[in-house]
């Protein structure tokens, strides 16, 4: 075979030469690859830009910002400690309330629900996730807040008032407690829909084997379903926590605000995210804007850590069980 045989004599007929690189292939791969690289770069850009914006505050206050309780635009003294505390207390309590509920919902949908209820209830729980946070917040201000203030908070204070968490309810509407309930509602659908998919992935033989050994349904769930899905449940809870940390709007609307650390859930407070959202009109000095971006940086670090932790668990623990959390996102 000479080289001349490989060159086509007729330009309209292309010879089959094995791998041919088409210009179109290269172009599509290049364009699509650029888009993918852009998505990665976007994450880097977000981190860089937020660090950049926070730099004046970082230079000014250093890491002491994190432990300092202050937010005084007049004296230009800022610190994040009270917001960190508020974020921790609201999101952890919300998770503590949402976790058993979400597990219950997921068990109901996978093990208990009659066939006719399964699809509609699944759809309804997912619809709960679709309600915008500003609408949940509006409902929190005018419907949930007053109910909690007039009925639930006094009742909890009267019966459990010896615990410092359930102190004297403030007469104003907003409270940390309202924010906790709102956050619980907002993370409930995400955690429960991930758990539902995890429970669906538990092999039928394992469940039936346990039942055949004479366990009750609950014993089967405790002995087979929970251990099997343990890693995934942990990841789901961490993702729920990350969602609770970052929720700004609904929390701003119901939490009331305030720069102090106290254990009384029935008074106002602020979280990192709610402080940022609440300051969107008032921030005029550069120092204050930079301090707000510093808050956003702390929030970003926390949420990235949460997500990386959840993904790590999925990749190292849950993958062995053939479980993916691809649908962990909202919607």
């Amino acid at each position: 075979m000479s080289a001349a045989d490989l060159t086509p004599t007729e330009p309209t007929r292309r010879p089959f030469t094995g791998r041919r690189v088409h210009f179109g292939d290269l172009a599509l791969q290049l364009v699509a690859g650029t888009a993918a690289a852009g998505a990665v770069a976007l994450v880097g850009l977000i981190v860089w830009k937020v660090i950049d914006g926070a730099r004046p505050a970082i230079d000014n206050y250093g890491l002491g910002f994190v432990t300092h309780i202050a937010w005084d635009p007049v004296k230009n003294v800022y610190g994040a400690a009270s917001f960190l505390f508020g974020t921790a207390i609201t999101s952890l309590f919300a998770l503590a309330l949402a976790a058993p509920l979400a597990l219950g919902i997921a068990l109901f949908l996978t093990e208990l629900a009659p066939r006719v209820l399964r699809a509609p209830v699944t759809a309804l729980v997912e619809t709960l996730a679709a309600i915008p946070s500003v609408v949940i917040g509006l409902w929190g201000i005018f419907v949930l807040g007053p109910v909690l203030r007039d009925h639930v908070e006094p009742a909890l204070h009267d019966t459990l008032g010896f615990i410092p968490l359930f102190g004297t309810p403030s007469s104003a509407g907003p409270s940390v407690f309202t924010a906790i309930v709102v956050l619980t509602i907002m993370i409930l659908p995400i955690v429960s829909s991930i758990c539902r998919e995890l429970f669906l992935s538990v092999p039928r033989e394992l469940k039936e084997g346990a039942l055949a050994l004479g366990t009750t349904r609950w014993e089967m769930v405790r002995g087979v379903v929970f251990p099997y899905a343990r890693g995934g449940i942990a990841a789901a809870l961490i993702l729920g926590l990350g969602r609770a940390l970052g929720e700004a709007i609904a929390v701003t609307q119901v939490i009331g605000g305030g720069v102090f650390i106290h254990w009384n859930l029935f008074e106002g407070g602020d979280t990192l995210a709610s402080k940022i959202a609440a300051s969107y009109q008032g921030a005029d000095s550069n120092v204050q804007v930079s301090a707000l971006v510093y808050l956003a940086l702390i929030l970003l670090v926390f949420s990235l850590l949460m997500n990386v932790a959840a993904q790590w668990i999925v990749r190292h623990v849950a993958r062995r069980q053939g479980v993916g959390l691809d649908r962990a996102g909202p919607g």
Binding site: A35, V43, L112, V121, L128, P189, N307
Partner: protein, 298 residues
């Protein structure tokens, strides 16, 4: 021998009644949890409908808010509805093509290592709180240039991108490889196989994912607070200015001391909620339809 192990007394000794009682309690708690979730949804939707319906009128969409609210003129939120259309439209225009391209690259071209790295980046992007996206775009575009609907829609697009990309990837992997192979075997170049054989199969899934993403960002307030919130009361379609949006309008009206503003906030919330519920239903319907069509074509 084995007969005695099934007597009532021995079952009692093994604690069967207690075990049954525990089981029954746990089952009822699971029922209760599901009932609570459905009840919350019901209460929220009912409250929004009951408080929003009285203030709902055509004026809400066609009239603009008065400059100062002492005048008893009919007021609406036309500026907010127009702004949301512009913001969400521009965000979709940015996020939809790039999201599809990212998904095409990851499913059709990328090596597994790159696929998992970019997939992780998408998950991280999805996990960045909306308010932080707002601060990021504020630092990127707003500082020095002022707020604009372009900046706002870029922030919304950052939220949409991972949603669209994930949804597209989910349907792209469902396309049977025999289709790709058939195309390639006929001598169709890879790029044409991808664009005119593989992608058309996934239109249903992409539309579903896009509708869900639009429903999600149409209700987002946090990314817009720092990027497109300092606005006038006129209706404007110019994306170079900051535009009002429905969620931001609800957020602001809810903080106002005027009960009339609250009524308008509820009415706007009702419109927003109806749109989102309708979009979710439509997406669900499209998803089942395209899934059954895909199943039939295989």
């Amino acid at each position: 021998m084995s007969a005695h192990s099934l007597t009532k007394a021995s079952l009692r000794a093994e604690g069967l009644p207690r075990r049954r009682a525990v089981n029954r309690m746990m089952e009822s708690l699971a029922w209760l949890a599901a009932a609570v979730a459905v009840a919350i949804l019901g209460v929220v939707v009912y409250s929004v409908a009951r408080r929003g319906a009285p203030a709902l009128s055509l004026d809400l969409i066609t009239k603009t808010p008065a400059s100062f609210s002492l005048t008893p003129v009919k007021q609406g939120l036309a500026n907010a509805f127009a702004g949301t259309l512009v913001l969400v439209g521009l965000a979709t225009a940015m996020a939809l093509p790039s999201g599809i391209l990212v998904a095409v690259y990851l499913t059709e071209f990328a090596r597994p290592a790159i696929r998992s790295a970019v997939g992780l980046a998408l998950d991280l992007l999805n996990g960045v709180p909306a308010i932080v996206i707002g601060i990021f775009v504020f630092g990127l575009f707003v500082v020095g240039h002022g707020q604009s609907a372009l900046a706002g829609s870029f922030a919304l697009a950052c939220l949409m991108l991972p949603l669209v990309a994930r949804a597209t990837m989910e349907v792209l992997v469902l396309v049977p490889s025999s289709l790709r192979e058939a195309g390639l075997a006929l001598g169709v170049p890879r790029w044409r196989t991808t664009l005119s054989i593989v992608l058309p199969q996934t239109i249903g899934g992409i539309v579903t994912g896009t509708v869900l993403a639009v429903a999600r960002v149409a209700g987002e307030t946090a990314p817009l607070l720092f990027t497109s919130s300092l606005v006038g009361t006129k209706v404007s379609w110019n994306p170079q200015h900051a535009l009002q949006s429905v969620p931001v309008a609800i957020f602001e009206l809810a903080e106002s001391p005027d009960p009339q503003d609250h009524a308008r906030a509820w009415a706007a919330a009702l419109v927003l909620l109806l749109f989102i519920l309708f979009a979710s239903l439509a997406a669900r319907w499209l998803a089942t339809r395209s899934r059954s069509r895909m199943g039939a074509s295989r």
